[in-house]
Amino acid sequence: MTSQTWTTQPDSYRIVITGIGLTAPNGNNLSEFRKNLLEGVSGLDWMEVRHMGRLAAGNCDFDEKKYQSRKMRKRGTRAGAIGIYCAHEALLDSGRTIEEEERDDVGIYVGITEHGNVETENEIHELYQNDLNTEFWSHHHNPRTVANAPAGEISLNLGVTGPAYTVGAACAAGNLGLIHGAQMIRAGEVKWAIAGGISESTHTFGIFAAFNAQGALGSDEDPAKATKPLDKERNGIAVSEGGCLYILETLESAKQRGAKIYGEIAGYHVNSDATDFVLPNNERQVQCMNKAMKKAGLEAKNIDVVSMHATGTSLGDIQEAKAVREVFDHSDNTLINATKGFIGHCMGAAGALELAGNIPSFEDSMVHGCKNIFDLDPECEMKGLVTKGHVNKDVKIILNNSFGMLGINSALIIAKYEN
């Protein structure tokens, strides 16, 4: 038995997930995404990138016009369009609507790795077409590039008048959006929240060029194999876009509504390396996972699934594997997987999407494996690693790792809700 702490809290303090809306390079809703993770379907393909030519990337093909007018799409950003799609899908999934009397009490918390690169590059491209005449620089530049833009676009679209802002946390942002949403509900700032992470990163050549300059842009003759997390021949990441927003509310309100409960936030931790701009620090990663488990009253053996950050870079995967081994090597129960071989690195959406891809295991009792591990790097070997396919297992606790540049680490633990 565990001494799990979250179940000892009152229902008004316990935070549950009651809706999930997502778009990933290989699926536009949770069931499609889950099916493709179990069946090994890649979301990566060739893409023409400005100034760089054909590169492998992960793009989403959801219908932008499903919940947004053509005019507002043109005015806004791709990140906003992704956010609006995910928010509507999550609301529909949860059975919640934005009622006039409670729209002040809803929070929107969107994790982002970066924002504004896409629009700035587009404007600079136009500037060069206009002989560097800034008179043609668009008045849309500022509202499109302010850091809260994706969350603000969602609030405008839904008519939510509660707090709506982004949480900047590099590639840990998907987890951070969820964690922040839970904190704000517990603090009494909002009654319920739309929270998670999004990314529009494939539309900025600068991100591809910078990873390339860093020697960390994955490539292969086959775009579906451009990123190979944990494989011996891995050579970097595949840049992807995507989004995943959750409806978070207290267990008390979920019970009152009779809502479907996907899972419960059992614990989390966020810390910083304070050692390097880009290189990971496995000592801090270990600390982050351990502190998250301690807050939840759990031990390593209680964790059924560890969803790795594993981006497919040479050093990053080794460091995380080392950290995961240190924490979980003595657990005979824990299975480990990584999602980026399927969908690439969805940046600000990565943590939220990768968690979503694992949550159905509470119901279908399967743990999806990794993709693109052809020859496992001995330095990335971990007990319990599901290298491919899927494994049957009764899953009750998932620990989701998500790390980012400037040394931000996050570990989020989601538990199956059992009445």
């Binding site: 005019k71 043609f136 849309h140």
Partner: protein, 81 residues
Amino acid sequence: MNATEVRQIVLDIIEDVALDEDVSNLNDEVALREQLDLDSMDFLDIVMELKKRHKVEVPQEDYPRLATMSSCVEYLTPKFQ
């Protein structure tokens, strides 16, 4: 360029700005904002498109002159000469 041609130019721009709306039955004497879902950002778009496509400048103090289709045509026609 005559008034009819200027009207068509303005109409083309409005059609591109008010993407989701039918602009075929505009009443030239009634404020555009009363007939179409246009806000301040849309009017800035119209001004920007006049500058980009036709090199016609509309200073900020003259924005009220773009209120109706007929005031647009009256104000802009001399600028297209």
